[in-house]
């Protein structure tokens, strides 16, 4: 972890260098891709296609980064490899489903003019929100179920995190990582089976508010043709939301006394304990915060892909790879690797790239993980010594 900012000019310099690096990486990778694709398939890979895949990678990377951030927080503070973290992401999405269902709760009114599938008079569902606030206001409240879920999800997910940590995981702090993996993986399966019992196995549509339905035409904004680079509004919202959440977590750790103690505990838990600080209590709170971050990632993801009980597992393995690539215990590493792997996965899904290397879209992330583990076991931004013994 970095320390308090002491050298503003140094920060400015590193920011400038980072921006320069990103600019060079953007154009460099574009020119390489364009040359390779042009050489192998004869297709002209346009800058528009390239920007589109970057955007795709950013929103996918947002989810990876948020989950990996929580995983790293838990590993860095408690030393626990939490395989139930994907389940927390899934639970967040189901908070959105539940809130949406609750806001849509309705009573039945018989419509004698229509019949149901058995030929009986049709029972029309009328939401209680209509009775309470009128149809127009009721529709708006139901429409905004997902953003409303964010407020409700925070305390719920923090509470779930506390219960999980105090009720089960704390008993495994001193056990080997293999035991921790087994128990948290088992917990993940139990959670997903419970969710399946109540919500079924099929995906449940949880749409974004009408105001965010549709796509933004980057093509026109950047001076290209219409429809060349369009991107759904809600995915852009997801990206900016993740940036805000990541920024908030970093600011919390960087600029608060609580965060300073946690960072000190992450660096040297024993010394902080000797100083008379109850670090365990703070770490429990961090577990709650990590659960809330994963849960919020899930809430906001619900409109992107209809939630199902298995969605946590789908993200879990990839997020672990993100943590390993970023560097175990490194928060900036988790975020950077999340976005990086999201973008790489996106590029690997371009049809010309698949034609060149069949199956690359399915293995790219694991391929990167193997290369990183072989050449730099501590990960991109991991501390020297971690995972290198």
């Amino acid at each position: 972890m970095s320390t308090y900012v002491e050298n503003p000019s140094g920060t400015l310099k590193s920011t400038f260098l980072t921006l320069a690096f990103l600019f060079a990486a953007f154009w460099g990778s574009f020119l390489i891709l364009r040359t390779v694709i042009g050489f192998s398939s004869g297709d002209n890979f346009s800058i528009q296609q390239y920007i589109l895949q970057i955007l795709n990678g950013l929103d996918k990377g947002s989810a990876y980064a948020l989950i990996a951030l929580g995983l790293t927080l838990i590993f860095g503070t408690l030393g626990v490899v939490n395989f139930a973290h994907g389940a927390l992401f899934m639970l967040g999405a189901f908070v959105a489903v539940t809130v949406s269902n609750l806001l849509s709760l309705s009573h039945k009114v018989v419509d004698e003019t229509r019949t149901d599938f058995l030929g009986n008079p049709l029972q029309v569902e009328v939401p209680y929100m209509y009775d309470l606030f009128g149809q127009a206001a009721g529709d708006v409240i139901i429409d905004w179920a997902v953003p409303i879920s964010i407020i409700i999800a925070i305390p719920i997910m923090v509470a779930i995190g506390f219960i999980m940590e105090r009720g089960l995981i704390k008993y495994f702090y001193k056990r080997p990582h293999a035991d921790q993996i087994l128990v948290t993986f088992g917990l993940a399966i139990v959670i997903q089976e419970i969710v399946k019992y109540f919500y079924g196995a099929n995906p449940i549509p949880t749409p974004a508010p009408d105001a965010f339905v549709g796509s933004f035409d980057f093509g026109i904004a950047l001076g290209f043709q219409a429809n060349e680079i369009i991107y759904p509004y809600w995915r852009l919202v997801y990206f900016f939301f993740s940036v805000v959440i990541i920024g908030a977590v970093f600011a919390f750790l960087q600029f608060t006394t609580f965060g300073m103690v946690v960072r000190a505990g992450m660096a040297d838990r024993e010394t902080v304990g000797i100083l008379g600080i109850n670090i365990d209590k703070r770490f429990t709170i961090m577990f709650g915060i990590a659960a809330a971050v994963a849960g919020l990632a899930g809430v906001m993801y619900a409109p992107i892909n209809s939630p199902n009980y298995h969605m946590g597992m789908d993200f879990l393995v990839l997020s672990f790879v993100v943590v390993v690539v970023g560097g175990m215990g490194s928060l900036p590493g988790a975020v950077a690797a999340g976005f990086l792997l999201g973008i790489l996965e996106s590029f690997a899904s371009i049809s010309q790239v698949i034609d060149m290397i069949p199956g690359i879209n399915q293995i790219i992330i694991y391929l990167v993980a193997i290369i990183i583990l072989l050449t730099r076991p501590r990960g991109l931004m991991g501390r020297k010594g971690v995972m290198e013994e």
């Binding site: 895949q53 058995l118 549509p205 060349e228 992107i304 996965e345 371009i350």
Partner: protein, 447 residues
């Protein structure tokens, strides 16, 4: 202090002798009838192998409801459902050949190895005389091969790949459900009428046998009417976010996107396509269109409003007005409170067809049953006049082309039937290239 006389070795010996003793009657029974699992005089056991866990668990649950209803009707309970509309009058509600129908269930988990293990367990431990069910072509092909080896009849559930009655067909396996070729043949004229014959299609295809055969079928039938295929891209079965695959579609020169996806893949890819504005987009001076070759109402529910106006095909739909469909919907709806899915329908029908074939053959011998099913023509089971073709054990019947309903009346009213394609239009020769390879072989009675 007492001392136990049990020793580990003793317990193992006793256990082995007991297991052998329990297995013996089963084995003798098999020998008695000259075929595997010949039933006794009082009852007969059917094995319902459906996904009870995993991504298709909801479809599996609906299949199981249909099987329970079929057993109830076969044993003379309930209102008899489609037994009263079935053109064959062999079934009288007295079980099968006077034996009470009992059943055991297995969980396929939509995994081939798990499905084979559960089918094997039902055959070897429970003495199931027939295995039926499933909601995936991979599973159907695997279980069908197992039943062939074991000498058991397999009445496939929901399986749509050409391979099930194509290159992987077996003499002991029978499919009532329609297939990829039929979807392509039924959809093409409707798509031509709606979107014209000057179209450029982009296919996204699930990377497994059902995806390949569906793409091949739709591609060949649309190309035959003048459409051009711009690109075909395989997507991993485990993919959840299809944005990377959808995003390049608008710039590809295509004006139609064909989603050869089923289940969760279909829900996610269709949702992503709508999010990326493909429904409102224009390409080549025409409205951009999306096609989903295989629709399922249960899956359409997952995609919500995104299915509106999108064409696809289905094996059966509860809104059909023929007497058989009405009788089945009434029975199922009264018992469970909601209309049956196409998966439930095909499973119910397969159970009745098996029971009827046994009754007409007067024997549970799989070879006699297969002979009774081969080239059997029937009606009254919801799809109009139907032929169980002997050459490949595939049913030939009308196919429904459906469209996502714009203004649904209720939560079940998601699809509307736009055309009932006659059986003749979707019939193909048994040696059609899309079904090439493999051979039916000969019936195996087992034992």
């Amino acid at each position: 202090m007492s001392k136990s006389n049990f020793s580990r070795r003793g317990v193992l010996k006793t256990g082995m002798v007991a297991s052998a003793g329990m297995a013996l009657p089963q084995y003798l029974r098999a020998q008695d009838g000259g075929f595997t699992n010949a039933p006794g005089d009082s009852d007969v056991v059917l094995g319902f192998n459906v996904p009870q866990t995993g991504p298709y668990a909801d479809e599996g649950a609906d299949e199981l409801r249909a099987y329970e209803l079929a057993v109830e009707h076969l044993n003379g309970g309930g209102d008899g459902g489609m037994m009263s509309t079935f053109s064959s009058d062999a079934l009288e509600g007295t079980g099968i050949l006077g034996r009470e129908v009992k059943y055991v269930t297995g969980d396929t988990q939509t995994k081939s190895d798990a499905a084979r293990a559960s089918a094997r367990s039902m055959i070897e431990k429970d003495g199931a005389i027939m295995i039926t069910g499933g909601s995936s072509s991979g599973v159907a092909v695997a279980v069908q091969a197992l039943c062939q080896e074991a000498g058991i009849i397999f009445m496939a559930g929901l399986t749509h790949s050409n391979d099930t009655t194509g290159k992987d067909k077996r003499a002991n396996g029978f499919r009532h459900f329609f297939n990829s070729y039929m979807s392509g043949a039924a959809l093409a004229p409707v798509l031509e009428a709606a979107y014209g014959n000057n179209r450029k299609a982009y296919h996204l295809t699930a990377d497994y046998n059902w995806g390949y055969t569906t793409q091949e079928a739709v591609q060949s039938s649309t190309e035959a009417m003048g459409w051009e295929t711009v690109n075909t891209v395989l997507t991993p079965l485990t993919q959840t976010d299809f944005s990377s695959y959808i995003a390049p579609v608008l710039n590809s020169g295509a004006d139609v996107l064909v989603l050869n996806h089923y289940g969760g893949n279909m829900v996610n890819s269709l949702t992503n396509a709508v999010q990326f504005g493909l429904r409102e987009a224009q390409a080549n001076g025409q409205n951009f269109e999306i096609v989903v070759p295989l629709y399922s109402r249960l899956m359409a529910k997952g995609a919500g409003a995104n299915v509106k106006g999108i064409f696809g095909s289905t094996n059966w739909h509860w809104s059909l007005q023929d007497a058989g469909s009405q009788a089945f919907v009434r029975s199922f709806g009264t018992k469970y409170g909601f209309p049956p899915s196409q998966a439930a329908h095909t499973c119910y029908v397969q159970t009745l067809l098996y029971a009827d074939a046994v009754t007409r053959a007067g024997s549970f011998n799989p070879c006699a049953v297969a002979e009774a099913l081969e080239d059997f023509e029937f009606d009254g089971l919801g799809n109009g006049p139907t032929l169980y073709r002997g050459e490949d054990h595939q049913c030939f019947k009308d196919v429904l082309v459906v469209k996502g309903k714009e203004n649904p009346d209720n939560e079940f009213d998601l699809l509307e039937i736009v055309e009932v394609t006659p059986a003749a239009q979707v019939t193909y020769p048994a040696d059609h290239p899309q079904f090439a390879g493999g051979a039916l072989g000969t019936c195996n009675p087992g034992a």
